[in-house]
Amino acid sequence: MTAPIIRIKELDKSFGTLRVLDGLSFDVMPGEKLALIGPSGSGKTTILRILMTLETISGGHIEVCGEQLYHMQRNGREVPADAAHLHHMRRHIGMVFQHFNLFPHKSVLDNITLAPMLTKAEPRARAEARAMELLEMVGLADKARAMPSQLSGGQKQRVAIARALALQPRIMLFDEVTSALDPELVEEVLLVMKRLAAETDMTMLLVTHEMGFAHEFADRVLFFDKGRIVEQGPPDQIFRNPEHERTQTFLRKIIAAGHRV
């Protein structure tokens, strides 16, 4: 029996009076590919942002790789994590954003090598060699010297994936990574992610509106509504045979909007 790589227990998150996550609990096993789906405002993106420590939590506990993410022990008491602890924990986790968030003043290659050189003190030559391998993998080796402004949206997102992979995190978070792309550019990004899922044993959490892709990619699908998990299970069950009425309604709407399942 292996232990879960992520354990979320009784997680609460409120923005002011708005309750976004409501006593949420679930585990993720190492290597698992998880798709988080649900209507907008259901809290799925917030979960990724909390795991990346971009938000604070209002209550509950999260364990990542066997350690508390937002808490630490001091003098035998549990206290909120300080900056050093968060820094220590973040090395397990990487994230790809909806809007790529590449550094516009740095070349593609420098975007990828920056973090390994700074946070792991990798020598430039090694960081660049590794970056070229990653660019090869995402099909952009010829763009190493380009600036982000010279790339298409799909290319930017593939660079962003390579950049997150350069730190070799054990957990990767994908936050609606194709939502900002023109439809004809979606496929190239999904292809890269499929390869990644097939070729690595990284744990992946994916927030998406691409139901067809979620179906193909995920080992398990979690359907969220109003900050809670309404239903979860293997993709075939959730997409072909959802039990819950809210899941059915959501999937009907998505299909009506022209998304494949």
Partner: protein, 218 residues
Amino acid sequence: MADWSGYLNLILQGALVTAQLTIYGSALALVAAFLAGMGRLAPWRAVRWLSTLYIEFFRGTSIYVQLFWAYFVLPFMGITLSPLAAGILALGLNVGAYAAEVVRGAILSVPRDQYEATVALNLTGAQRMRHVIVPQALPLMLPTFGNNAIELLKATAVVSLISLTDMTFQAQIVRAQTGNTLIPFAMILILYFAMALLISAGMRSLERRMTRGLDGVR
């Protein structure tokens, strides 16, 4: 007319002093601006408070008074400065207080996306500033820094009050000795203007170099 070459020479020597004050004053202003501007964004309350105090005090009091303090009052506290050093100190700290707000504003205007990317890549606060935020904020600061430098250049005229022989001081000497007002003052007018143009041109070329490759959308 032979006399005039000597008088013109005097004004040119004054121009050199003005240039020195401008260059050293701007350098000090730049350092003060970054310290106080980033200080106002620091996670430590004491640093934020000190930075705010500096900015408000130097923006809120007259450059004349600051100059007099630097030259006439500091000696009573055991700090005696040469007129040039006092001038550079007062001008640099005064303009630095304005420029500090420019630094702060530019840093805050770098999109939040960029900050979040540095968190996801696990950079430390200092690495984030140095490699990601400040390089993108700098091009936004430059046009206003150009204004600040020109303001500083023009403010250098006040140092004649502490007997520093800058351009304006020399022009008054020439006027007193020759009785001619037009020539010395026309000359320093042109010289101030030429120096300001030089600053503008320098800033523009710096800006061009720094924004190369940056997204036009920002």
